[in-house]
């Protein structure tokens, strides 16, 4: 084995420029493959990270318009969701429905403190929404279930609002009172958010009670149970639509009466999309590499041609076809693997730099999660390299074995 490596080393050293140029093509191919794979994995991990921050087991339902006549009603009827529907869904005891929640916006409301007032409106919110609306409570607490049950007059302000109406955004604002809709509200928490810090949040039940009667709401968010795949995801949609159809008297198969956004199914779809992205990247990468490999194959052909005489000598003094075949193939494998690895190393270094600049650890929002080359890719690439090298060498090697010693020696 050592001898074979030595033989290969000698021939490679003997053709430095040629080997170098070919090797560059291979290294470049692998480099591109690594970068492409790394970036697509980055996008994927970014996607996974952002989906993990949100609840996947939710279905949003909006107001819709019927598209089918039902029990004497014409189609084209508006279905208005009511605050009471939230409770209806919560008491439906359907196995797919864990909990229903909704918001109730009171747009016109002003919130005033000792210094100033804001008019961003107040929003009735369920406790679950803190996470869902990217609300980051940095002082005090968010609305809880007890607030909901007792319709407490408590309010969560943004840092910006607190600063405006109290002149301070420190924790001593907690427990103070603000005025809104003619009532006094106790401040229980302060939040920050990456966008829109104008809203103030109160318990959903309190907001409903203040609106009087059964106010219309824009949408209901249903937390689902037992949703594990596409089928159960669709079944959960049917269950919600069924419940609403009973209340609002529309055809349970009428999708447009209660349009939905199923986050779990979206997730499955995006995941499918990510998989396709992964395949596409592999295909592009491998095609890039193929041009490198063809280069190697080409060079090996040239090399075999140039060395016809040498191969003839070797055959005359006792080299078997197998010896020649393995030597040429291993030479090709050596070139592809060595330069391929150079490509892997370069790719890894560049990915590290990209991660520093654009990865999730970097400043600002980025479509990428962690940008890195995982061991798995490196292993796959190694296998691909060895196979590719062997293939690149195979045909030239077969040609080399056809060299007849007599003809080769006559060359001179």
């Amino acid at each position: 084995m050592f001898d074979l490596i030595n033989e290969i080393g000698q021939t490679i050293r003997n053709n430095k420029l040629r080997t170098g140029l070919t090797g560059f093509a291979v290294a470049w191919g692998i480099f591109m493959l690594i970068i492409l794979l790394g970036l697509s994995r980055g996008v994927m991990s970014g996607f996974e990270e952002s989906s993990s921050k949100r609840d996947l087991n939710t279905i949003n339902v909006w107001r819709g318009v019927t598209s089918m006549p039902y029990k004497g009603y014409n189609k084209g009827r508006q279905i208005k969701l009511k605050a009471s529907n939230v409770n209806d869904l919560n008491t439906s005891h359907n196995k797919y429905i864990s909990k229903a929640t909704a918001y109730n916006y009171i747009d016109s409301a002003k919130v005033s403190g000792p210094k100033d007032y804001v008019s961003g409106g107040i929003t009735g919110m369920p406790p679950e929404s803190a996470r869902d609306q990217w609300i980051d409570v940095f002082a005090g607490r968010f609305i809880n279930q007890a607030d909901m049950d007792n319709q407490r007059k408590v309010i969560v302000l943004s840092r910006k609002t607190a600063k405006t109406i109290f002149g301070s955004d420190s924790t001593d604002v907690i427990g103070k009172h603000v005025k809104s809709l003619g009532l006094a509200w106790t401040v229980i928490g302060l939040y920050t958010r990456e966008w829109n810090e104008d809203e103030s949040f109160v318990p959903f039940t309190t907001a409903v009670a203040l609106s009087g009667g059964d106010p219309a709401i824009w949408s209901i968010k249903v937390f689902t149970d037992n949703v594990t795949d596409e089928a159960s995801g669709l079944a959960a949609e049917d269950a919600i639509r069924g419940e609403l159809a009973k209340i609002h008297q529309f055809d349970p198969n009428d999708h447009s009466a209660a349009p939905m956004n199923n986050r779990f199914l979206n997730y499955l779809q995006s995941k499918e999309g990510m998989k396709i992205l992964d395949y596409v990247v592999w295909v592009i990468g491998i095609l890039t590499m193929v041009s490198g490999i063809i280069g190697v194959s080409n060079i090996m052909f040239v090399s075999v041609r140039e060395r016809t005489h040498e191969i003839g000598i070797r055959r005359a003094i006792g080299a078997k076809r197998r010896n020649i075949l393995t030597q040429i193939i291993l030479e090709s494998v050596a070139i592809t693997t060595i330069f391929g690895y150079l490509g892997v190393v370069m790719g890894t270094i560049v990915m590290q730099i990209l991660d520093m600049l654009f990865g999730s650890g970097s400043q600002g929002r980025s479509p990428f999660g962690t940008l890195s080359v995982d061991l798995n890719i490196a292993l796959k690439v190694t296998v691909v390299l060895i196979i590719a090298g062997a293939l690149a060498g195979l045909f030239p090697a077969l040609k080399a074995t056809k060299v007849k010693p007599v003809e080769a020696l006559r060359d001179e």
Binding site: Q10, N14, H309, E310, R314, I317, G318, K320, V406, L409
Partner: protein, 234 residues
């Protein structure tokens, strides 16, 4: 008898088939120093190729050292070449990027002999050729005579049954040619069977027997000159 050719025929196929060897019958004993001579196109190179198991023949029988050489597989042929025959070529046929030791040791590489052992054996052969100090030179750094001696060392390293030399002095000046021929005679004196293909009468005269070949046939009336002291010009 180390070589026995019986009714060997060889035709190169083509639009006009070329019958290059016609009923060749030839016997060479162990320890002979033989020259095969003939004009170009006479078939002597083809005969050499058949003797060297580099080419096939169409009919007849060829025994080399008791082995029938007929319809061999490529691998078997390579093995027998490696074991039984040492080749010396006109153009030396050394591998240019290997130094003298590596070139000499190459046949043993294909026998699977360990690196250390084959390099030791190669050094031994080079010492015998008086080239120990050139062992690590590349062929390009050696003179023609030195190259041919390296080639002879390579031919000897497997301890073959015969040495086949194809115009071994063709690329050498006359002084070096004589040196090489003397070397062959010395080896022959040690018992090695040597067959030299040549068209140089001087080389032929330095052997013990001349086989003349003309138009694909062995010229029959050539006297065997074993009783005449061959002339060596030193």
């Amino acid at each position: 008898m180390i070589i026995q050719l019986k009714d060997i025929n060889k035709t190169y196929p083509g639009v006009v088939p070329l019958h290059v060897l016609k009923d060749i019958n030839l016997e060479i004993d162990r320890g002979e120093l033989v020259a095969i001579m003939g004009a170009s196109g006479s078939g002597k190179s083809t005969l050499l190729n058949i003797l060297g198991i580099l080419d096939n023949y169409d009919s007849g029988e060829y025994h080399l050292d008791g082995v029938l050489i007929k319809n061999l597989s490529e691998n078997r042929a390579a093995e027998l070449r490696n074991r039984l025959i040492g080749f010396v070529f006109q153009s030396f046929n050394l591998i240019s990027y290997k130094n003298a030791v590596e070139n000499v040791a190459l046949p043993l590489f294909y026998q699977g002999v360990s690196r250390r052992k084959r390099n030791a054996l190669a050094m031994e052969q080079l010492e015998r050729m008086g080239l120990a100090d050139r062992a690590h030179h590349l062929p390009g750094e050696l003179s023609g005579g030195q190259k041919q001696r390296v080639a002879i060392a390579r031919a000897l390293i497997t301890k073959p049954s015969i040495i086949l030399a194809d115009e071994p002095t063709g690329a050498l000046d006359s002084t070096t040619s004589h040196d090489v021929m003397n070397l062959f005679r010395e080896l022959n004196a040690e018992g090695m069977t040597i067959i030299i293909v040549t068209h140089d009468p001087g080389v032929g005269a330095a052997t013990n027997r001349i086989i003349r070949i003309s138009d694909g046939r062995i010229v029959p009336d050539e006297p065997i000159i074993t009783d005449i002291k061959p002339q060596i010009i030193v």
